[in-house]
Amino acid sequence: MTELSDELLVAYVDGRLARKQSSAVEKVLEQDDVLAKRVKALKDAHNRLEAAFDAILAGEELEVGGPEPERAGVFVPWAAAAKTALAGIGLAAAFALMVLGYGWPLSVEDFTRTSFGSGDPEYTGSIEPSWQETAARAQGLLSRETLEVGLESQSNLDLVALELGKAIGPSLKIPALDTQGYRFERGQLLRAGDQPLAQLLYLGRSGGPLALFARKGGDGEAPTFRRYGGVGSVAWSEDGISYLLAGEGDEPALMTLAKAIRSLPQPGAPRDASDGARP
C-alpha cells in the first residue's frame, strides 16, 4: 500500500491540489484499492456536508425570499433589478426608498416575521425525530378524560366499551382478540386535536403492545398499510368511524388482524357464532 496522508487526500478531495498533484494522486488511486476506498469515504463525507449546507440555504432562500414582492423593502426585486440593469421607474423609486432608509427596516421586519412565522417543518424519511419531539407529540394525545378514568376501569372491557362508545359513537367496535393471540389490557380516551380518540391496548405473547385507535369520521376507506419508523399500521374506516391498528407486526400480520376486526358485527347487531373476536 502506498503511503498518502489524510492531509493530501483531503486536499485532493476538496480540489485544492494543483493539476499535476491531482494527476499523481489519481495514478496512485488506480493501483491502490485501500487508498481508493479512503478517498471514496472522504468524498462521501464531503458530499454529505455540502448537501446539508445547501439544503439549509435552500430553506432560507424559501423563507427569506417568500415575502410579497410589492413591499418596498423586500430584497428579491433588488436582485432582479441588478440583473436587468435596474431598468424601470418603480424599481428606481424603491431603491430611493431603500437609500433613504425606509426599505431596510421594512426588509428586516418582513424577514423576521416570515422566519419566526414558519410552521413546524416536516422531516420524515431517514430523519428520526428527537425523543423530546416524540414525547411532546405523545403528550398532545392526552386529555383530561384520559386521567379521570381509573386504571382499574380502563381494564374492564365492558366499562371501556360504554365509556368509549359514548365519546366516539355507538358503532365503535371494541374487539377482543384472544383468538388472534392478543389479550385486551386496557382502553382509554385520548384526543386528536379537539376530537376524542379511543385507544385500545393489547398484549401478545411477546413483543410490544398492539393498539387500536378509533375516532369519528371516515367513510368506508379500505385498509391500507403504512410504516412509521419501527411501527407498522393499518388504517381503514367503517360506519362513520376511522380506525388505526398499530404495532410491531409486519404487513401480513397486521392486515390479518385488521380483517378480523372488520369482520366483526356492529355492536348491538345479532352475533354470528363463528366470529371468534368479540366475547
Binding site: A41, A51, F53, L86, P121
Partner: protein
C-alpha cells in the same frame, strides 16, 4: 446618480467571497450606502450562517437581527478591501461570541439539538450527518460551512473565525477524516446487522 451607482455596486457585493476576492468593489465616496442593499442581497446566506451557529431557526433569526443592527450602527468599521459577506459572517460570529461569554454556562451554548438541526436541513438530511454536525463545537461547524458550504479558501475562513489558515487546514483534515471514519463504521454496523438478521432467519 444613486441609481447608476447601485447598478455596478450590487453585483460585486452579492458575489460570493471566492468570486469577489481581489476584485475592486465599491469606489464611490459614500460607499457605505451600499452596505444595506449588499446585506439584504446576502440575507439567505447570512441566515444560514446564523442557523449553523445557533442550530435552530428562531434563535438564528434573533441572532442575525441583533448582528445586523450592530453592523448597520457600526458600518464605518467595514473596510472596502474586504468582501462584504465575509465581514458580515465575522460580525455575526463576534456578536454570538460576545453574548456567549456573558452566559452563565458558555459551554452549554455550543451544543445544538439534533432534531432542530435536522429540521433546518429538512428532507435532504441524513441522520449520520445531522448527528455529526450537532456534536461539533460551533467553530468547527462554521469551518465546515465556510469551506464546504460557502467555498471560502482557508485564509478567508480563518479571517471570519479569527484563526490562522493553517489551523483551519489542520482541523478540517481531522474533522473530514473523523466523519469519513464514522460513515464507514455506520456502514459496517448496517452490514453486520443485516448479516445477523439473515443468520437468524436461516436458523429459524
Amino acid at each position: 446618480m444613486v441609481f447608476l451607482r447601485f447598478a455596478w455596486a450590487v453585483p460585486a457585493l452579492r458575489a460570493p467571497a471566492r468570486e469577489a476576492a481581489g476584485t475592486a468593489k465599491v469606489q464611490a465616496e459614500d460607499f457605505h450606502d451600499q452596505i444595506r442593499p449588499g446585506l439584504i442581497a446576502h440575507l439567505p446566506r447570512l441566515k444560514r450562517f446564523a442557523d449553523v451557529v445557533v442550530g435552530e431557526r428562531a434563535g438564528a433569526t434573533a441572532l442575525l437581527r441583533r448582528a445586523l443592527n450592530v453592523m448597520l450602527a457600526e458600518q464605518h468599521r467595514y473596510r472596502r478591501d474586504r468582501a462584504l459577506d465575509a465581514w458580515a459572517f465575522a460580525e455575526i460570529y463576534a456578536t454570538w461570541l460576545a453574548e456567549v461569554s456573558d452566559a452563565e454556562d458558555p459551554e452549554a451554548q455550543q451544543s445544538i439539538a439534533e432534531g432542530s438541526l435536522a429540521a433546518l436541513i429538512g428532507r435532504d438530511a441524513d441522520w449520520e450527518t445531522v448527528r455529526f454536525l450537532a456534536g461539533l463545537p460551533v467553530e468547527h461547524r462554521l469551518m465546515l460551512l465556510l469551506v464546504y458550504g460557502e467555498g471560502f479558501d482557508y485564509a478567508e475562513a480563518g479571517r471570519v473565525l479569527d484563526i490562522s489558515a493553517d489551523m483551519i487546514a489542520a482541523r478540517l483534515i481531522r474533522i473530514s477524516a473523523a466523519f469519513a471514519d464514522r460513515l464507514c463504521a455506520a456502514r459496517r454496523r448496517k452490514r453486520t446487522a443485516g448479516a445477523e438478521a439473515v443468520d437468524r432467519s436461516n436458523l429459524s
